[in-house]
Symmetry: C2
Subunit: 156 residues, 2 copies
């Protein structure tokens, strides 16, 4: 049974409709690291051919990837991240940071780093309070339906 | 065919082994919003009963959730986030922010907000360069295997 979340108002649920499956996020991870071609995605992740075809088509349909012809004879295509696809970078990064924290005990260092192109520095994710400007840890936050805040008159 | 990623050195792949499936992250989302009981998870997400049981067990096994008895007669349990589970907050937040950007056109406002407990301000995700301290956008970053940087002698 395939259930859909399009009817859910939660935008995380809607986002999961597109990327809520591990192969899909691994394809996005590879694209963020510069992979563009079918064989590249296949070799990097070991995704079965038929699954890879289906997931690439899904990502093109949802405008996460763009399918571009790069050769005429024979015709060959590559897959490039759109702005919407590149905007998934923070999702993959935070997931990787969680993995670095809890699933890297056997590794000498985190295997992948996110770098700042301009200066070559390492990029880390933070959560910041828009009101007091402090950096907050997960335990210091709470997620609430916007209606509750609207009812309290604290969010316009 | 079920493939596993445990052999992959990429920690995002290893993390996806636990949370790379939409129901699982929806359960974590609900737990972050305060849901603790089986019927709560079932009613909030509409997850089929047997799938929910399997996913809750997986999350307990991986110490994302902790199963705690809250009533003796009859025996009843609830599921509480561990520190490791709460550390998934940024993953759910960044996913939700992506959904807010691209899948909320029909909504008057983002349906869920992440708030700072201390001051009630809204919490947003940012990526910051550890070197130049600037906030960077996804397009300004690149993900590279740590070996490359080690070889260049730029990361110790």
């Amino acid at each position: 049974m395939k259930r859909t979340y399009a009817g859910q108002r939660c935008t995380a649920a809607r986002a999961l409709e597109v990327v809520g499956e591990r192969w899909t996020l691994l394809i996005v991870r590879d694209a963020l690291m510069g992979v563009t071609r079918f064989v590249g995605f296949r070799d990097t992740s070991g995704i079965p051919r038929n699954v890879l075809t289906a997931r690439l088509n899904l990502l093109v349909e949802h405008e996460v990837l763009e399918r571009v012809e790069y050769q005429r004879r024979p015709v060959r295509h590559e897959y490039r991240l759109t702005d919407k696809g590149r905007a998934l970078g923070p999702v993959v990064s935070t997931l990787m940071e969680w993995g670095n924290e809890y699933y890297a005990a056997d590794l000498p260092s985190p295997p992948t780093l996110v770098m700042h192109k301009d200066c070559g520095g390492r990029v880390v994710s933070q959560r910041v309070c828009e009101s007091c400007r402090r950096t907050v840890r997960p335990v210091e936050t709470t997620a609430v339906p916007a209606e509750w805040r609207l009812a309290e008159g604290r969010v316009e």
